[in-house]
């Protein structure tokens, strides 16, 4: 049980190493998107810092979501997914390992970089800390829920409208709480409530999402 977890994780990281540019690109994408907003909105620091929570969170979400779409598709297209389904190993563990690998490779760097970009938006230190924490607690939910979407889109074609309808709205609460946490601390209010909601949603999705994902994957292959 433990060992297949490591084997799959190791492979995900190996693949990420082989395409190092993927990791770097997630970072630069985040960097670029978060620098686009000042370009569109104009350089006034007061306005910029008021929109900073929203901007940084949207950028993180996009970076995460973009890289997620490929989570299963390459395994699906080349037949590895079939092999995973008939492996004498629990599918759930394989899925969790894949999602975790993805989060390490694409989520973590963004979380670490976000505070530095926050500097560009002239956020004070305590707000940067909350930004960091909110991303740390919030992005696992994005990865986990996104995995369901990625799995569903593998099989369902044409009616994938349904997928968009199902998964994208699930991101919204995370965004609201995440950006809300940062905004609250910006206004000198406590962010604990928001942060604990984020943590709760991560735990909830850690329990539920892999099951949904594995069902979706079986459907996709049939």
């Amino acid at each position: 049980m433990n060992s297949v977890w490591f084997i799959v994780l190791r492979r995900e990281l190996l693949l990420a190493m082989r395409r190092r540019s993927d990791v770097a690109t997630t970072l630069f994408f985040f960097l670029i998107v978060s620098s686009l907003f000042p370009l569109g909105i104009g350089p006034e620091p007061a306005v910029l810092s008021s929109i900073a929570p929203g901007v940084l969170w949207v950028a993180a979400l996009l970076a995460n979501m973009l890289s997620l779409t490929r989570l299963f598709s390459s395994d699906f297209n080349d037949g590895t997914l079939e092999q995973m389904l008939i492996a004498p190993q629990p599918l759930i563990v394989i899925i969790i390992a894949k999602i975790f690998g993805h989060w390490v490779v694409c989520g973590l760097p963004v979380i670490l970089l976000a505070p530095i970009i926050g500097l560009q938006y002239a956020l004070p230190n305590d707000v940067l800390l909350v930004l960091f924490l909110s991303l740390l607690l919030g992005t696992p939910t994005l990865s986990l829920v996104g995995a369901i979407g990625a799995a569903l889109t593998l099989g369902v074609r044409g009616s994938g409208l349904l997928v968009a309808l199902l998964v994208l709205p699930l991101y919204i609460p995370v965004l609201i709480f995440g950006a809300g946490a940062v905004a609250a601390s910006q206004h000198g209010m406590g962010a604990e409530a928001h942060l604990s909601l984020l943590a709760a949603s991560s735990i909830l999705s850690l329990v539920l999402a892999p099951i949904a994902t594995s069902t979706a994957l079986r459907i996709a292959v049939e």
């Binding site: 395409r19 190092r20 540019s21 770097a24 690109t25 630069f28 960097l31 670029i32 620098s35 000042p38 370009l39 104009g42 350089p43 006034e44 620091p45 910029l48 500097l119 560009q120 002239a122």
Partner: protein, 246 residues
């Protein structure tokens, strides 16, 4: 870079030539740097407004100059390589990119370091700063694209297309960012904080710029030698080369 490239455009003849030139360029770089440092730290007076902090200008401005200059040179090599199918010029473009990115990064970092005491903030969305940041992205895009493609011929040519598209876009970016800034906002802090340029400072920056330039050439040559070896590793002359050295 004033060598007759046509004559030496075969990697095999260029490799030893580059090897001979490298020490000279390094030497020149050190000489200019010493002169520049002397002028900028010993001769240039302390600024009455900014104190010693202003001396960062001697790194910042030459680095900013080099960052733009190298991009144009790089795109030139890339275009040349694409049009004439000249392998060596594509390799030159590839070798220059990291140095260019490094100077861009240096200009950004020194600028930010300077900005904190001067403007009270690390970063403002000023035209010049913004376009320098975008230049960094262009460099990084070029490097990322080339490193993502294994086949050397393909990576050269794809990189060249990108560099050319980028070079068309650089002036557009520069002016659009300028207009953007002047069009919509009142005044943020501008460059007026910079001290008046006395001749001695200009001289210091000039020396430093020359030092950076020589350094860039030397580093690019070192890198191009590595690239040549890697790409031609299966050819006879490379095997002979290493046969002799062992």
């Amino acid at each position: 870079m004033h060598i007759n490239w046509f004559k030496y455009s075969s990697p095999q003849t260029f490799y030893p030539l580059a090897g001979k030139m490298i020490p000279w360029f390094y030497g020149l770089a050190v000489l200019f740097a010493l002169a520049g440092l002397y002028v900028s730290f010993a001769l240039a007076p302390t600024d009455f407004q900014q104190g010693e902090a202003y001396r960062i200008i001697f790194v910042h401005v030459p680095a900013a100059w080099m960052s733009m200059f190298i991009y144009i040179v790089m795109a030139g090599w890339a275009a040349f390589g694409l049009a004439l199918n000249a392998r060596l010029s594509a390799m030159m473009a590839q070798a220059l990119a990291p140095t260019g990115a490094m100077f861009t990064f240096l200009a950004l970092v020194t600028g930010s370091l300077w900005g904190k005491p001067m403007w009270g903030t690390w970063w403002v969305w000023d035209a010049r700063l913004t376009s320098e940041l975008i230049l960094l992205f262009l460099y990084l895009g070029f490097i990322a694209l080339q490193s993502a493609i294994d086949d050397p011929r393909r990576s050269d040519r794809a990189g060249a297309v990108l560099a050319l598209v980028g070079v068309v876009n650089v002036p557009i970016i520069y002016f659009s960012v300028k207009w953007w800034n002047t069009l919509h906002q009142g005044s943020t802090i501008s460059m007026t904080a910079a001290p008046k340029m006395v001749t001695i400072m200009l001289l210091g920056m000039l020396f430093m710029a020359l030092a950076f330039w020589m350094y860039s050439i030397a580093v690019a040559l070192v890198r191009v030698r590595c690239i040549i070896l890697e790409r031609e590793r299966s050819t006879e002359w490379v095997k002979n080369l290493f046969g002799e050295e062992k």
